[in-house]
C-alpha cells in the first residue's frame, strides 16, 4: 500500500466518493466528491501533535471501540495518504463550540476549519471496482450472544487484539476486562459524586460494582481457552448461502498466533468441514494441530450462554462422538461471513453494473474480471469472498486488463 502511495503515476483520492458517472469504454467521465478533511493535506506532516492535545475522545472504530481515538485522527498508522482528518461529528469547533487547540499546536498551519468539499472531474479509459466487503453482522444470530456478551467477539476484533499495534499491544485481554478497566477509571469519580450528593444507596451500589469488577479484572485477565466458531452467517440459508472462502484459514491463523503470544493458550475450532483449499493450506491446518495444539471439533455451535463470571458457555453436538456438550471458554471468536459492502448497490447503480444474487458484482467464470459494462473491471471481495493471495492475483490481473483498454483506446486486441 505504501508503494502505491509513493508511486509517481498513481494518484490516490482517499476520503472521496464517486457522485456522477457516464461515458463508454475508452472515455468515461467521473465526478468525484472530495470530502473536507478540515486539514490542508499538502501541509500536514502527520506529526500527530494535534491528536495528542485534542481534548475530545471518540470510540476508535478501527479497534472496534476497544480504545479511544481523538476527534482529529488518522484511521490507522499505515493509512495513505498519511494525513490527519477532523471528524466533523465530534470536533467542538465544527459543531459550533469553542476549542481550536489543534490549530494552535499545528506548526505546519494545516488545520482549516472552514474547508469545504470539492469536486474533481476525471476522464478515464477504464475503471476497476474493488470496493471490498463488509463483516457479517452477527447480532442477527441472537443465540450466539454477539453484542450482548462482551467475551464473544468477531474475527476482526480478534485481529485487533492480536495486533502489536492494537488496543492491547497484542496481549490477549478479555474484552470484559478491557471494558471493566475502563469502568474502573470512571467509578471513583462517580462514587465521590454520590458521596457529595449524599446518595447513600447509589454509593453502595457503585462500590459493590467496583469490588465485583476489580475481582473480575484481577482473576480473569488473559483469555487462554478460546473457541473459534466457523460459518457464522455463511453456508446458512437464512443469511448467506455461499461459503465465505477465507474463514477456515483465518481462524486457524488466529489460533496459531494466539498460541505464539501465550503458550498456555488452548484453542478449539468448531467446524462443519474445514475448507483448507490452497497452496500450503492443508499443511498449515495439520501444523496447527501438531505444533500449536489446536483441537478441531466437528459440529456447528447451537448456542452460547454466559456464566456468572462472564465466561461464554458453548453448546454444540460433537457429531463424531454423537454427544451434546456444553463447554466453558474464556473467549469465543466468531468467523463472521464475508457480506457484500453496503455501498455496492449505490456504486453499481451509478456505473450500471449488474450484481449477482448475493449482491456482489456479477462476473463470469470465463472472464473473471469483466463486468457487464465494457471497460469496467472488478476484483477482490467486491465480486465475492476471496482470500489475500487470490485478491492480490486478481488485482494485478485487473490492472493488466485495464492497461489493455488504455493502450488500445478501447478497441479489442487480437489474441
Amino acid at each position: 500500500m505504501l508503494d502505491v502511495g509513493r508511486h509517481p503515476k498513481i494518484n490516490v483520492l482517499a476520503y472521496s466518493e464517486v457522485v456522477d458517472f457516464n461515458g463508454e469504454i475508452g472515455n468515461f467521465n467521473v465526478k468525484v466528491r472530495r470530502k473536507p478533511r478540515y486539514i490542508d493535506a499538502s501541509r500536514c506532516t502527520a506529526c500527530g501533535a494535534c491528536a495528542e492535545k485534542c481534548p475530545t475522545k471518540v470510540p476508535n472504530e478501527f479497534n472496534f471501540g476497544f480504545d479511544d481515538r481523538k476527534a482529529i485522527y488518522k484511521d490507522y498508522a499505515q493509512g495513505i495518504p498519511s494525513v490527519f482528518t477532523i471528524d466533523p461529528d465530534h470536533c467542538k469547533v465544527i459543531l459550533g463550540g469553542k476549542c481550536g487547540v489543534c490549530q494552535k499546536v499545528c506548526q505546519a498551519k494545516a488545520v482549516d476549519y472552514e474547508q469545504k468539499e470539492s469536486f474533481v472531474d476525471l476522464n478515464v479509459a477504464s475503471v476497476i471496482v474493488s470496493t471490498g466487503y463488509e463483516l457479517f453482522d452477527a447480532t442477527q444470530i441472537p443465540e450466539y450472544g454477539y453484542g450482548r456478551m462482551p467475551n464473544v467477539i468477531s474475527s476482526l476484533e480478534m485481529e485487533r487484539l492480536l495486533s502489536a499495534g492494537g488496543p492491547t499491544r497484542g496481549h490477549l485481554s478479555r474484552p470484559s476486562v478491557i471494558y471493566g478497566e475502563k469502568r474502573l477509571k470512571e467509578l471513583p469519580k462517580l462514587i465521590k459524586k454520590a458521596e457529595k450528593d449524599q446518595k447513600e444507596d447509589q454509593k453502595q451500589i457503585l462500590e459493590q460494582e467496583m469490588k465485583r469488577i476489580e475481582e473480575q479484572v484481577h482473576k480473569y485477565h488473559t483469555a487462554k481457552k478460546l473457541a473459534f466458531i466457523q460459518c457464522v452467517g455463511s453456508r446458512d440459508f437464512r443469511f448467506h448461502k455461499y461459503c465465505s472462502n477465507y474463514c477456515c484459514m483465518h481462524s486457524i491463523k488466529e489460533a496459531i498466533i494466539a498460541r505464539e503470544h501465550e503458550h498456555e493458550t488452548e484453542s478449539y475450532i468448531f467446524y462443519m468441514d474445514l475448507r483448507t483449499v490452497g497452496k500450503g493450506f492443508e499443511e498449515y491446518k495439520v501444523r496447527g494441530a501438531e505444533v500449536s495444539g489446536l483441537k478441531y471439533i466437528r459440529g456447528r455451535v447451537a448456542e452460547i450462554l454466559q456464566d456468572e463470571e462472564m465466561n461464554p458457555v458453548v453448546y454444540y453436538e460433537d457429531t463424531e462422538k454423537r454427544q451434546v456438550v456444553g463447554m466453558t471458554f474464556d473467549m469465543v471468536i466468531l468467523a463472521n461471513a464475508c457480506s457484500p459492502s453496503k455501498g455496492i448497490r449505490n456504486i453499481s447503480e451509478l456505473l450500471g453494473l449488474e450484481l449477482d444474487e448475493n449482491q456482489f458484482v456479477r462476473t463470469s467464470p470465463n472472464n473473471p474480471l469483466d463486468t457487464n459494462v465494457p471497460g469496467i473491471f472488478s476484483c477482490g471481495c467486491a465480486q465475492g469472498p476471496l482470500d489475500i493471495p487470490e485478491s492480490v492475483a486478481q488485482a494485478s490481473s485487473a490492472a493488466a486488463r485495464a492497461a489493455e483498454v488504455v493502450m488500445t483506446e478501447g478497441l479489442p486486441i487480437a489474441v
Binding site: 440459508f237 437464512r238 456447528r300 455451535v301 447451537a302 448456542e303 450462554l305 453448546y315 453436538e317 451434546v324
Partner: protein, 376 residues
Amino acid sequence: MNLPDIVDRTGAYYCLDCGICTGSCPVSRIFPDFSPRLMVEKVLVDQEENPLEDINVWACLSCGQCSVRCPSEIDYPEFVRLIREEAVLQGKTGTPAHRGLFQTIMRMQTMDVKQSKTEWAREIGNISTSGDVYFFVGCAPFFDVEFHDDWGLDMMDSPRGSLKLLNAVGIDPVIHDDERCCGHDLFWNGDTENFVKLARKNVELIRSLGCKQVVFSCPEGYMTFKNRYPEFVGELGFEPIHLYELLTREANSGKIKFEPLETRLTYHDPCRLGRQAGILEEPRELLKAIPGVELTEMEHNRQSGICCGTSAWMNCSACSKSIQKKRIEEAISVGAETLVTACPKCRAHLSCALRDMETPLQIRDLNEILAQAIKL
C-alpha cells in the same frame, strides 16, 4: 405420505449434518438418545431401521427451536409430524399423557355432542349471539376438568381474562356452545383424520355466524387456524387475530390504561406464540404498560425461549419434568416473583413441576394479570 415425499416436502435433503438441531434441542440435552440430526440421517441414508417404529418420533416437542436455527431451514417439526401421521396410519402411536383423557375428549367432539361452553362467559361478562368478532375460547374449559380439583389450578383464568379485556375495549364477542377443539393436539399426534373433522366443524360454525374476525388467546388455536386450516378446508372467510395484537394496537392508541401493580415478573414465550407466530414483543409491551411492573428476561427468551416440556398431551416423561424444572430455575435466578405464561398448556405444565419445588415463585396467565390491572 411416504418417506421420500416427507423428505422432499420438509427440505430435509438439504441437511448438512452440522448438529445445530441436536445441540439446540431441549430433549437431547436430557435424553442423549434423542437426536433430530440422527433422525433425519436415518431417513436419508440408512433405512435398516424403520423410522416409523422409532419411539423417539414421539419424544419431539415440536417446539421448533432446531428449525429456527437450522442453516438449511429444514422444517423439522413438520418432518416429525408427517412421520407420525404415517405411523398412525400403520397403527402405531406414542404414549398419551393423562391416560389419554384429552385425546378422548377431542375425538368425542368430532361427533354431534351437545356442549355447554358459554355459561361461564355469561356469568362474568358480555357476549353476543351475532356480530363481527368471534372469540375462540379453546380447550381451557376441558383442561379445567382435569386440573381444577386435583391441583387447585383454575384454567378458566385465561378465557375469563380474555373476555374481560375484550369487553374493556368495547368488544362483546360472539361465543358459541358448538365450538370444537381446534384439533391442534390430534394433528400433532398424527391423527389427521379427526383433526380435519374438527376443523370443518369450527370453520362451518364461524362462517354460518357471519363473523369477520376471530380473536384467539390460545397460541395453538391461533396457529392452527391461521397456518393449517386453509390447507384442509380452503379459504377461511374470516381473519384470525391474536388477542395481544389487538390489545397492543389499542394500548398504543391510548385506548387502554392500566392500574399500578408492584411486582417483578418474567415472561415465558410459548413456542407457538413466540418462535412460531412471531408474537414476541406484544406481550412484553403490554406487561411494561402496567405501571410498577418490573419485567426481567430469563436467559432463554424470545426466539430462544425454552419449551414447557411436553406438547399435544403426548409422551410426558422424566425429561419433561427436567425441562420444566430448569425453566423454573431460570425464572428464580433472575429474581422474578411471578412467571407469566400466555398459553394454558405452558401454565399447566410448568405448574405441574412447581408442585415438587420449594419456591415462592408463582405461575400466572398473562390474560389474568392484564385483566386484573386494566383500568375500566
